[in-house]
């Protein structure tokens, strides 16, 4: 698919990097390149995925240490240039810790690590991350997290609602997230963070293809 390359960031403790790369290459024929967290040269990738896992062992707080890696420092310019960044699960936690997205992700209300398929409402078309050109749509994606309860103060929540920054909401809130939030974008729309795993829903063989569109939209022109 053209000559665009998606960078897949690898932190010590990332464990969905290969899944993301497999889904992009194998299901969508999109070229990928692994980016080690110590690299700060993002010049040869057109979009970036921060994959799920337990970067730096989730020490201190999920995503807290990753924020100080050279790669995340370089991400600021990348995002400002309008290029697309997708943070999945631990990637979403890193995006909130580093201030690219507002709010924070804390321990699930019931303290369980939840591994399940969830129904999600696509709320906003900002950034074109979801195929919701018609009316409001629902998709099904897997979740797998212990600390996925989205939390923000009421002012931030109002801003998210008013500016249409809420991308996805759980139909049946599994973790106690504020306002059932499962994913949000930045104001420009080029950064999306979500707890569900689109890369695990890219083939009918493994239970669904509702994640394909979001991955494909990484190289949206």
């Amino acid at each position: 698919m053209e000559n665009l390359t998606v960078g897949v960031v690898v932190f010590p403790g990332s464990n969905c990097d290969r899944d993301v790369s497999w889904a992009l290459e194998g299901c969508l024929d999109i070229r990928t390149k692994y980016l080690w967290h110590e690299s700060s040269d993002l010049s040869d990738v057109d979009a970036i995925v921060l994959p799920g896992g337990f970067s730096y062992g989730d020490y201190l707080r999920c995503g807290a240490i990753a924020r100080f890696s050279p790669l995340i420092n370089a991400l600021d310019e990348f995002v400002k240039s309008g290029k697309r960044v997708l943070g999945i699960c631990n990637g979403f936690q890193i995006l909130t810790e580093s201030g690219f997205l507002p709010g924070a992700l804390v321990a699930n209300k019931n303290l369980n690590f939840i591994c399940d398929d969830v129904e999600l409402d696509i709320v906003s078309s900002k950034g074109g991350w979801f195929n919701n050109v018609d009316e409001k749509q629902t998709i099904k994606l897997p979740i797998a997290h212990g600390e996925g309860r989205y939390h923000c103060d009421s002012d931030t929540l109002k801003k998210l609602v008013d500016n249409e920054l809420i991308a996805l909401r759980y139909k049946n809130n599994p973790n106690g997230s504020s306002f059932d939030i499962a994913g949000i974008t930045n104001e420009k729309g080029n950064v999306l963070g979500l707890m569900p795993h689109p890369e695990r829903a890219c083939d009918e063989m493994i239970g669904g293809t509702d994640g394909l569109y979001t991955l494909k939209s990484l190289i949206l022109k």
Binding site: L60, A64, T96, E97, G103, A104, A107, N108, K109, L111
Partner: protein, 84 residues
């Protein structure tokens, strides 16, 4: 250079639900402890640090707390400082 022992306490903000604290409170009651009105779990971080006087060290610790030790979206912090 003076050396200081610093104890940083990081707590979830009162508005943030603490399910681990709730679970521990429930276990405490099962243990037979009576009268527990609230139980919340935080973190304590011990740092030994040197600098030119207390003010300089406080500046360093403030930066560490604000940017690394605590996520001020969900947590508050305070610390005690002792000259060694």
């Amino acid at each position: 250079m003076d050396q200081f022992a610093v104890k940083v306490f990081v707590r979830l903000r009162p508005s943030v639900l603490d399910p681990a604290g709730e679970a521990t409170k429930s276990a405490s009651i099962k243990l037979g402890a009576e009268g527990i009105k609230s139980l919340r779990i935080g973190k304590m971080i011990e740092v030994k640090i040197e600098g030119n006087g207390e003010n300089e060290v406080r500046e360093k610790i403030d930066l560490l707390c604000d940017r690394l030790f605590a996520n001020t979206v969900i947590e508050d912090y305070d610390y005690s400082l002792e000259k060694l």
